[in-house]
Symmetry: C2
Subunit: 141 residues, 2 copies
Amino acid sequence: TESTEILETKISDLMIPSEKVAHVQNQNPLEHALLVLVKTGYSAVPVLDANFHFEGIVSKTMIIESILGIERIEVEKLSKITVSFVMEKDVPTIRKDDTFMKGLKLVINRPFVCVVDESGYFDGILTRRVILKQMNRYLHE
Amino acid sequence: TESTEILETKISDLMIPSEKVAHVQNQNPLEHALLVLVKTGYSAVPVLDANFHFEGIVSKTMIIESILGIERIEVEKLSKITVSFVMEKDVPTIRKDDTFMKGLKLVINRPFVCVVDESGYFDGILTRRVILKQMNRYLHE
Ligand SMILES: Nc1ncnc2c1ncn2[C@@H]1O[C@@H]2COP(=O)(O)O[C@H]3[C@@H](O)[C@H](n4cnc5c(N)ncnc54)O[C@@H]3COP(=O)(O)O[C@H]2[C@H]1O
Ligand SMILES: Nc1ncnc2c1ncn2[C@@H]1O[C@@H]2COP(=O)(O)O[C@H]3[C@@H](O)[C@H](n4cnc5c(N)ncnc54)O[C@@H]3COP(=O)(O)O[C@H]2[C@H]1O
């Protein structure tokens, strides 16, 4: 029946491949990460190491919170602190050959989830938008 | 059949009511809006006028972009510019008695959509999270 078709979609069919994903490196200064986030308009992007392995997520909120002092915004910290100090490391990831339902469950509480292979190499991201588009198509049948 | 049940859900059953939604007013200085956004962690929140009518959306990206000068970050602008100068006004809204499908279509390309009545009075927001949760329940039946 139709309803099994959507359930058989693989994450690899839905994900945005790594070459199309804006990302930063863990050793970049916060200044660089903030510019990437503002230029792309994204709220958060993946953080990779020098070997293209997934390390975590960095968001505008994490960067702004780290420079908000009691008296003033400590702008000089942006060039002194690296991404690795503010990024969130404890986030779920998913595999290319995982199921649609596993992807749906992971994006209920977060805007996107990173796709990695068994050695942690970064393959891309699965976004809420793609899951919602798939659902819209499915309900129209 | 089950599949009509989800389609009959009304937006009023799914939306976050206005009293639970963080928002700012159009005459607030940017400084206030940035603090609300950082304290709540939200990427963007609704902007209302003094009569609780919906005016638009303001995000961290809009605020940061407005203070990024060529040479440096012009922090002093945060207390000089009001939210009305940077907010996005041309955004879709939805009614309490609209259908689930209309809500689903509107959140495909944006994280949330504001619920207003026929006079523009702010009733709440419909978020992607709530739509995704509903989908997850529906696919499990
Ligand atoms: N430049 C743009 N062009 C068109 N639409 C845009 C856009 N920037 C944002 N949006 C829309 O706004 C949604 C939320 O974006 P946000 O940046 O908060 O949250 C984004 C962002 O943090 C991340 N993301 C999406 N695409 C990315 C990419 N190519 N590289 C890096 N991160 C990405 O995944 C989150 C969810 O993305 P999703 O597509 O579900 O949802 C996106 C998309 O529908
Ligand atoms: N304090 C918190 N506690 C728990 N989870 C949190 C959270 N802040 C963010 N999240 C999670 O991250 C998602 C994206 O949040 P974001 O702030 O980019 O984007 C949010 C935010 O801009 C706005 N939003 C959500 N709840 C709001 C509220 N009570 N007041 C004002 N704006 C709200 O709607 C967008 C979509 O919300 P949605 O719930 O679908 O999706 C949220 C939610 O799953």
